[in-house]
């Protein structure tokens, strides 16, 4: 994985999902999803509860049950790869349920994910970004408050050098100040050339950050809204999301 730098040309395709189907056991959740994300872009996946946004992220990492279709990451087909190999293509995942390891300390949690590419953030940078974590570095993961866990979940993938970040509801349960910090962070990351896919419920948070919004309903993309068309499509979004 070459580290994408900030002036890499936009339009280089980072991720292409075509005809993605995914299942949990018997239940068919994704019904042929298609979307594309270019290097350095921030896109959001919007939708109502249960639309299948989280499932989309999980399917990209092979964490759902059966799946079919095609997921090209940097030109490589990953649909048949085992999860741990997909991660090594440079993908960082921050799950909806945060996934903090209770038996590890905050710092161990932070250091846990292995480096998948060069150019990750240093611990110092991370602690400057999230001072709370520095303060609680020695406490066991399960003792952190909900919000602290959320910060830790994001922080630890920034260390790994992954350049494609899958962020699931990161603004969830955070104090407004922190949400603002996160907003700044996403911008910063984008400037550094990261590619980000965000699943968001908080439209106000996501709207100004994203280059493009995909709206998912019943496991399909039902609407694509580029940044510049946002104003015009507000009504449609309203209808789809109840915003």
């Amino acid at each position: 994985m070459s580290a994408a730098n900030s002036n890499s040309p936009a339009g280089v395709e980072m991720l292409r999902v075509t005809g993605l189907h995914a299942f949990y056991g018997e239940s068919h959740i994704l019904h042929g999803l298609d979307f594309v994300v270019n290097r350095g872009e921030v896109v959001t996946l919007l939708g109502r509860n249960g639309a299948g946004r989280t499932t989309t992220l999980r399917a990209m990492l092979g964490l759902t049950g059966k799946r079919s279709g095609s997921i090209m990451v940097n030109g490589r087909e990953t649909i048949a790869m085992p999860t741990h190999d997909i991660a090594h293509l440079g993908i960082g995942y921050c799950p909806e349920e945060r996934g903090i390891f209770a038996s590890l300390t905050a710092e161990e949690n932070l250091l846990l994910p292995p480096q998948v590419a060069s150019g990750g953030m240093s611990i110092e940078e991370i602690y400057t970004m999230f001072p709370n974590l520095q303060e609680r570095r020695a406490s066991p993961g399960m003792r952190l408050s909900g919000g602290e866990q959320q910060m830790l979940a994001i922080a630890r993938i920034l260390r790994t050098g992954a350049k494609l970040l899958l962020l699931d509801e990161i603004s969830e349960g955070l104090a407004p100040v922190i949400v603002q910090t996160l907003g700044r962070m996403v911008r910063q990351l984008k400037q550094r050339g990261y590619t980000i896919i965000m699943v968001e419920q908080n439209f106000r948070f996501a709207a100004p950050l994203a280059d493009r919004h995909y709206v998912i309903e019943h496991g399909r993309i039902v609407e694509t809204v580029p940044m510049n068309e946002l104003q015009g499509k507000m009504d449609r979004l309203h209808e789809l999301l109840g915003v």
């Binding site: 249960g50 709370n132 003792r143 602290e148 349960g173 955070l174 407004p176 603002q180 109840g242």
Partner: protein
């Protein structure tokens, strides 16, 4: 009824220390009877911990908790519940493989006093169905009564949880982030619901969604670093510079 004080719940110098770390320190909380009281604060301020102390999932290091004039500091979780303090969880808590109706009935059933009666027929619980349906009605779930709970969408589960809580007819309801993870419609529904059920009872809630807080609450207590930072109605608190700095932030992005 004995003379009731204005405050249904009071804590006095409530403190919880974890190995060398004080999560809640000397909190004096007074919750007015019949009000909706919100507890807000930055992450890690000690809100959930306070809840855990109030419902005895944690034992306080020091301080006392008084409910309706009685000292409940050393009671067990189930006893607290029977006194009329019932909480909901940060993550929705239902009985997934029971039907929606049965979920609510579990809440009602204890009142019958037959919960240990292993020789009685289940049919004896059917007398509760009427009341259970009323409760479901009140949260718009009546049409789902026969549905197995796992199949409900998230927001509906939240509503069901509230209905089950209501079944106990609690005097004081503790809601931990009731709108967390909800889509906008669901948020609206839950806000309405909370307002509806707040009649005749007291509600203490933790919530990060300032819109909801502003909308619902009579009084707001802001916690930061385990201590009370500010208290008062939304209009006051939201202008408090300390609160702005610690919690609300600049609001322009």
């Amino acid at each position: 009824m004995p003379l009731q004080s204005e405050f249904i719940l009071e804590t006095c110098e409530l403190t919880k220390a974890f190995k060398g770390f004080v999560a809640v320190s000397s909190v004096n909380l007074k919750v007015k009877r019949g009000s909706i009281h919100a507890l807000i604060g930055p992450n890690g301020a000690g809100k959930t911990t306070t809840f855990n102390l109030l419902t005895k999932f944690l034992a306080p290091t020091s301080g006392t908790i008084t409910f309706n004039g009685a000292d409940i500091t050393s009671e067990k979780p189930a006893e607290i519940a029977r006194r009329g303090i019932v909480r909901s969880f940060q993550i929705s808590a239902t009985f997934p493989h029971l039907t929606v109706l049965e979920n609510v009935r579990i809440g009602l059933q204890r009142e019958l006093g037959t919960s240990f009666h292993f020789w009685k027929s289940e049919k004896s619980l059917e007398q509760l169905n009427g009341r259970a349906m009323e409760l479901l009605e009140s949260v718009d779930l009546a049409s789902f009564a026969k549905t197995v709970t796992v199949e409900l969408p998230y927001g509906r589960k939240r509503a069901l949880e509230i209905a089950t809580t209501l079944a106990l007819d609690p005097e004081l309801m503790l809601l931990d982030e009731p709108t967390q993870g909800m889509g906008h419609e669901d948020v609206g529904r839950v806000v309405d619901l909370i307002r509806k059920v707040s009649a005749n009872r007291t509600i203490l809630m933790v919530e990060h969604n300032l819109g909801v807080v502003a909308d619902l609450s009579d009084t707001i207590t802001v916690l930061a670093r385990g201590a009370v930072l500010a208290e008062g109605p939304y209009s006051e608190v939201s202008k408090n510079p300390l609160v702005l700095e610690a919690y609300v932030g600049s609001e322009q992005q």
